[in-house]
């Protein structure tokens, strides 16, 4: 039997027969992600969703034009006209009303009479709300949006997309979902992959060193490279299980998370082809191997598990920053091939491409291959480290 395989088998046996370890590493991440995202989703929808009461919007000197625009379906505010500004403010403070608008007495006439070029002060609308109330704050934003739209309408000099034509030419359904996924999922995934590796790698390398069990292995006729390889294969498999668990948790909870404002953010999982999924899997596996071997270097260098975890924190921050770049960068994947040679960034960009529906075969393959090359390079480094007694017996 190949010795690398024997080592890998032992690591896997250690992991998969330990129910507590299995629970905390594989089951728990997925479960936690599902619970947290579902909770966040329901918290959001109760904050903004239809379940909440209709906002109470008060107004002094309400002009007819505003009553009309507020009644339009996209706003749907029923405006309650009151006489006293003071009473309205009290209502806001007591949180019995969300918004108070105060118009000048002859708002419509004053607006019609106002000349932009005159340089004089334009008629002013005062809008009040209670800032500590999140629901009121949300209503405030829509009211401001509504007023600004009205301002745009009366001073109409030009239109943009008047007929509300399909301005987005990327075509196809599920675009809202694709956009959200292409910016959010790579970040989540790369973090999950990293934390999955963090939960198993330090113990296998630094832990064995700390417990003194590594020397027992080193006096068997196993090549150091075989030993390192066996460990990395096993850890890759374990981290993959953990990563898949987080992934499944994310997928199951995303509809709950994105179900904001009652409108389903059309998350059509079927929008992705088998090819997309296949390459996503390849990206995930190659990224895992790269991360496992990278973390193995850190863990092999550290004297204890605790030190390994501390040393890995800066790496974690870098990985998170790289993940965050997916949310910027103009909403699309990088197209130049050399971006796909940078470890971690290449994985994130490939995922942005896949989730955003702009899958690029060549770049994705470059990313997978470069990950494999990095893994090989890291393997050589760890093997070198394992040959160094100063590192392996450091206390």
């Amino acid at each position: 039997m190949n010795k690398t395989f024997i080592i890998a088998k032992k690591e896997l046996y250690r992991f998969f027969t330990d129910r507590r370890l299995l629970f905390s590493t594989v089951l728990l991440p997925g479960l936690m992600v599902y619970i947290i995202y579902t909770f966040m989703g329901s918290a959001f929808s109760s904050m903004f969703g239809q379940g909440a009461e209709a906002p109470r919007v008060l107004s002094v000197n309400t002009p007819a034009s505003i009553t009309a625009i507020a009644a339009e379906p996209q706003y749907g505010f029923g405006i309650i006209d009151i006489d006293s500004e003071e009473d309205g403010k009290n209502e806001i403070i007591n949180k019995t009303a969300d918004i108070l608008m105060v118009f000048p007495a002859d708002f419509d006439e004053a607006v019609a009479a106002y000349e932009n070029a005159s340089g004089g002060l334009a008629p002013d609308v005062a809008v009040y709300y209670e800032g500590s109330d999140t629901a009121a704050t949300a209503v405030y934003s829509s009211i401001i949006g509504m007023l600004e739209e009205y301002e745009g309408r009366i001073a109409n000099k030009f239109d943009v997309n008047r007929d509300n034509a399909e301005a987005d030419l990327s075509g196809g359904g599920g675009n809202v979902g694709a956009q959200m996924m292409s910016s959010l999922l790579p970040l989540l995934l790369i973090i999950f992959l990293f934390t999955a590796c963090m939960s198993v790698v330090p113990d296998s390398f630094a832990g064995e060193k700390e417990r003194g069990t590594i020397a027992t292995l080193l006096i068997t006729p196993v090549k150091r490279s075989g030993l390192v390889m066996g460990k990395i294969i096993a850890l890759g498999i374990i981290a993959l299980c953990s990563g898949i668990s987080s992934f499944v948790g994310t997928f199951l909870s995303l509809p709950n998370l994105m179900n904001v404002g009652g409108e389903e953010a059309s998350l059509e999982l079927t929008a992705y082809s088998v090819e997309d999924y296949l390459f996503l899997l390849l990206i995930i596996i190659s990224t895992l191997l790269m991360l496992v071997s990278l973390l193995s270097i850190v863990s092999a260098y550290a004297k204890t598990v605790k030190e390994a975890t501390t040393l890995a924190t800066p790496l974690m921050i870098v990985i998170m920053l790289v993940g965050v770049t997916a949310m910027f960068g103009g909403g699309g994947a990088q197209t130049d091939f050399w971006y796909y040679l940078i470890p971690a960034y290449n994985s994130v960009q490939s995922m942005v491409g896949i989730f955003g529906g702009e899958f690029n075969l060549v770049n994705t393959i470059i990313a997978v291959c470069s990950n494999v090359v990095y893994t090989g390079l890291f393997l050589v480094i760890i093997t070198k480290m394992y040959n160094s007694e100063r590192i392996i017996f450091a206390r």
Binding site: M1, K3, I6, I7, K10, Y13, R14, D18, E208, R211, G212, T213, A215, T216, L217, L218, I219, T220, P221, V222, K223, E389, R390, F393
Partner: protein, 260 residues
């Protein structure tokens, strides 16, 4: 004529000193010599003892022979295999036991025996046979499915001995084999050493216990401060006086008048 099976030639090993340690020792040297120009030969079928005080370099020498660490210069040949150029070859011929070799708490003796046997390329049939024999001899058979974490200290030690010889090595290297054992367990170990010798195995052991050397060793090498100050058969060394007195003579000769 006995066959030479282990030849150590001019083994040297130094360790780096930290800045603070240099201050304490008031030295400008960056390295401390742990083992210096050490040569000796062990014959097939004998028990060779390395005798020396704490910190003399015994463990360092054994660790080099077991290829756990590499010598700075010099070489040793274990049944023809060089510890420098063929460490894997050496490892397959040698069984090494020291207190620093721990077994993973999670596994059972049964699993560990199988695991290390397969790493040593032991045939499954031979593995089962040896497992039964060794487990019975050391009384591990009743605890074969108990995790190492739950074994007593003595049982762990016995299991370590078993694991070190899973592959039936020709040469067995024991670092302080009876340290920390009660008299009963220590006897099981010394009996085992003699039994291995009877099977024609070669044993290299390190100790600071004179009685153990006198009891089991054929040849003894005395190490003081990393240097081999005497190496002869126990019979020859103890011709005039007992081993303990002889050792003190050697120590005074090497280190000057006081041995405080």
């Amino acid at each position: 004529m006995m066959q030479e099976i282990l030849v150590a030639k001019n083994l040297k090993k130094t360790f780096r000193l930290s800045a603070k340690q240099r201050q304490i020792e008031k030295t400008s040297l960056y390295e401390r010599i742990a083992v210096s120009d050490l040569s000796f030969t062990a014959n097939e079928g004998e028990i060779f003892g390395l005798l020396g005080p704490n910190g003399a370099g015994k463990t360092t020498t054994l660790r080099m022979l077991a290829t756990l660490i590499a010598p700075d210069s010099g070489d040793a040949f274990v049944d023809g295999a060089s510890i420098v150029s063929d460490p894997e070859g050496v490892r397959s011929k040698v069984g090494f036991l020291t207190s620093e070799l721990r077994l993973e708490d999670y596994f059972t003796p049964n699993y560990l025996f199988d695991f290390f046997s397969s790493l040593h390329n032991v045939e499954p049939q031979k593995m089962e046979q040896r497992k039964k024999m060794l487990f019975e001899k050391f009384g591990v058979d009743k605890f074969a499915e108990v995790k190492v974490a739950n074994l007593s200290t003595g049982m762990k030690q016995k299991l370590s001995i078993i694991i070190s010889v899973v592959h039936d090595p020709k040469i067995i290297i024991f670092d302080e084999p009876t340290n920390g054992l009660d008299v009963l367990t220590a006897k099981v170990v010394t009996d085992f050493l003699l039994e291995l010798k009877a099977q024609g195995k070669t044993i290299i052991l390190s100790t600071h216990i004179f009685s153990l050397v006198e009891k089991v060793c054929d040849t003894v090498g005395v190490i003081i401060n990393g240097k081999m100050v005497a190496c002869d058969t126990v019979k020859e060394l103890t011709k005039e006086k007992n081993l303990e007195d002889k050792f003190f003579d050697l120590y005074v000769q090497e280190e000057g008048a006081s041995y405080e």
